[in-house]
């Protein structure tokens, strides 16, 4: 492999120094279990979030593999139909609420937010800890629901089935409700932090783009999650007490549930995607050694997606009995979000143009992200066209579309961010060759898994079916094969990261020589209170006109 610009720079420039391991940092200054469980430190809270979402990611992945095994043959008896319904429900619930929504904002975001604004902690550290505990409580409730058999309604909990099913839906619903409380608390903390705790002189238009993304995410969380909270509570009450407003026999309207549910759940996908885009904004600058091509454009697009994402929820209900004028309105409104996403994609691409690109693992994930976001996004615009959606609704076309975004973009961006910031979090570098290989395997496995599903959906295979007509089999087998490859890639990436905690090289403060604010003024891993004096940030994040000081990783002592 050609030496990357980072290595060449190490030989040429004088502002490279050998990595040092800080004596006292946030991981080792107190090591009791109590000091972790009762910490106010945003860094420790972020790491605990990451560990939790990691576990649930594996669980959600296992559900997915079981689904794919069932779909290997048209009349498979691998699981019963009821068990299959539970599998896809729990796969959705786990991946949405226990992995994707908390992973980047509460995991990486908690860790990096104060570092990026030069603060010692978030505005309300005790609330931050409470958020984490509430998240665990909600997760526990959901797991109890799973152990009790779990729901079989799909993660969308449509009424009237969800109010009358005999499966253990109430613990799952209440678990989601409690997780929603955690989300609101975290969003509240982030908004107050960025408004009131920026280091002196740090104006809004100098903030790192990851911060803008998390801020936009927090706004969505605050506006949307309360509606979900009420809605799942109403379904729970109707289910166990018979007191509700969705029962058609009493004059209720099941479509009202769908309005209330999707008013949250469509912005929820922007809760998942905006932080991913924030990660990409950071990674593209660091690994092209170039400042972003249009800072204001990205900021406007971020806030635009956060705001406009709320106007589009009815595009999930084109075939549910929603009126034609409303469906038309939602279809047109849905197109607008594509504009902002396109602005971002073009800006990132232009950022890479004439940059000094390093083909490290985060960059490989970034390439995958860009490619897959474009296809996922364009199929989204296609689905927003009401007349087309009539045929694609509830088929694998929709499934492929949202997995292109959720897995192809969000998961890849999460992995990119993990790899990029791993040295900052833990002071160690991961092993580059396995990481890059894993990134390629993940990308290839992903395409093999979900591209057949576009064809399946277009051919008419419905989603959430345990059995299907034989003519769909070979595409399903291809998809399951791809899922296996994807799983292997994720496994390699995960093991690589975890092994590096013990055997990786010492990274030093800034092994990438990145111009991001979080790499400046703190060690890697950071000190317990981040900064000893207010940090001196340069005029802009990722300003490479003066190369940032870079540390050269060295092997850790045996």
């Amino acid at each position: 492999m050609r030496p990357s610009p980072l290595d060449e720079e190490a030989r040429a420039r004088p502002n490279v120094e050998l990595a040092r391991w800080p004596d006292v940092h946030y991981l080792n200054h107190e090591t009791s279990v109590r000091s972790w469980l009762f910490t106010h430190d945003h860094k420790r809270i972020g790491v605990m979030y990451l560990a939790t979402v990691g576990v649930f990611f594996i669980l959600g992945g296992i559900y997915a593999l079981l689904i794919r095994i069932q779909l290997l043959s048209p009349e498979s008896r691998f699981v019963s139909p009821l068990a299959y319904n539970r599998l896809f429900t729990l796969h959705g619930v786990t991946m949405v609420w226990l992995f994707m929504i908390p992973a980047i904002p509460s995991g990486l975001g908690n860790f990096l937010y104060p570092l990026m604004i030069g603060a010692k902690d978030v505005a309300m550290p005790r609330l931050n800890l409470l958020s984490l505990w509430i998240f665990w409580a909600g997760a526990l409730l959901t797991v109890i629901g799973m152990l009790w058999g779990g729901a079989d309604t799909g993660w969308t909990f449509y009424t009237p089935y969800s109010t009358t099913t005999s499966t253990a839906i109430v613990p799952v619903l209440l678990g989601v409700f409690v997780i929603g409380l955690s989300t609101i608390a975290t969003g509240l903390n982030f908004v107050v932090t960025v408004h009131t705790m920026r280091t002196p002189g740090l104006g809004w238009m100098r903030l790192p783009l990851f911060l803008w993304a998390i801020y936009g995410t927090a706004l969505i969380q605050l506006l949307a999650t309360p509606v979900l909270g009420l809605t799942v509570l109403l379904v729970s009450i109707e289910h166990f007490a018979g007191i509700g407003i969705f029962d058609p026999a009493l004059g209720g309207d099941p479509i009202l549930f769908q309005h209330l549910f999707w008013f949250y759940s469509h912005p929820a996908v922007y809760i998942m995607v905006l932080p991913a885009m924030g990660v990409i904004s950071e990674v593209v600058c660091a690994f092209s050694r170039k400042n972003v091509a249009g800072y204001r454009l990205i900021v406007i697009s971020t806030v635009g997606i956060a705001g406009v994402g709320f106007f589009t929820w009815g595009h999930h209900m084109f075939t549910s009995g929603q009126s034609i004028p409303a469906s038309g309105a939602f279809g047109i409104l849905s197109m607008f979000v594509g504009i902002f996403t396109a602005i971002k994609v073009f800006t990132w691409t232009y950022t890479m143009y004439r940059g000094a690109i390093s083909l490290r693992a985060p960059m490989i994930y970034l390439f995958g992200f860009l490619f897959l976001l474009v296809f996922g996004g364009m199929t989204g615009i296609a689905l927003a066209t009401t007349s087309l959606d009539l045929h694609w609704q509830d088929t694998y076309f929709v499934v492929a579309h949202f997995h292109y975004i959720m897995v192809g973009s969000v998961m890849l961006a999460f992995l990119a961010g993990l790899h990029y910031w791993w040295p900052k979090l833990f002071g160690k570098t991961y092993f580059e060759r396995p990481a890059t290989s894993a990134a390629a395997v993940v990308g290839f496995g992903f395409i093999a898994t979900f591209t057949p599903q576009f064809y399946l959906g277009n051919m008419g295979m419905p989603r959430r079916y345990a059995f299907y007509p034989p003519e769909f089999q070979w595409l399903n087998v291809a998809s399951t094969g791809g899922a296996t490859i994807l799983a292997i890639g994720i496994l390699i990436a995960t093991v690589n990261l975890l092994v590096s905690l013990r055997y990786g090289a010492i990274a030093g403060d800034n092994p990438w020589g990145s111009g991001g604010f979080e790499w400046m003024g703190t060690t890697s891993p950071p000190a317990p209170h981040n900064f000893t004096a207010p940090p001196q940030f340069p005029a802009q994040p990722h300003d490479y006109s003066v190369a940032p000081r870079r540390t050269l990783p060295r092997a850790s002592p045996p």
Binding site: V227, G242, G252, F311, A329
Partner: protein, 133 residues
């Protein structure tokens, strides 16, 4: 959004607050009084209009004491805007829906005042799905 000025809210004194309180109570009483007047289709807009006036007064005078300038002003109004968005687009759907897809189905949405259509408790012209226990 840097240093806040704690003292700028002090110009709203107790007397102003008393006047505001009297207006608020007067509004509520007026709303109650108007309820007895046959306003027909204007009844809902008038009632909500008076309620909105009370809402604005509460927000501006009673709660304004606790805020100065900047972001705090926008938190609740932005919430109101998104509530209205949810309401507006949902009602757009409900009011323009194909009649059999409405909750009251094929039944006329304007039965005679005071009459209950003949029959049992549930009173629907189409059978609804039976509820599981």
């Amino acid at each position: 959004m840097t240093e806040s000025d704690q003292h700028s809210g002090r110009h709203v004194g107790p007397l102003t607050l008393l006047v505001v309180w009297l207006v608020l109570v007067g509004d509520a009483a007026a709303n109650f009084g108007l309820f007895h007047v046959k306003l027909g289709s204007l009844q809902l807009p008038v009632a909500l209009g008076l309620a909105t006036l009370n809402f604005v007064l509460l927000l501006w005078f009673f709660m304004h004491l606790a805020e100065v300038r900047g972001t705090r002003r926008f938190a609740l109004p932005v919430g109101v805007l998104y509530l209205l968005l949810l309401l507006a687009l949902t009602l757009l759907d409900v009011t323009t829906r194909f009649p059999p897809a409405r909750p009251n189905g094929l039944a006329s949405s304007q039965p005679e005042a005071g009459a209950s259509p003949a029959g049992s408790e549930t009173n629907r012209t189409e059978p609804g799905p039976s509820r599981a226990p």
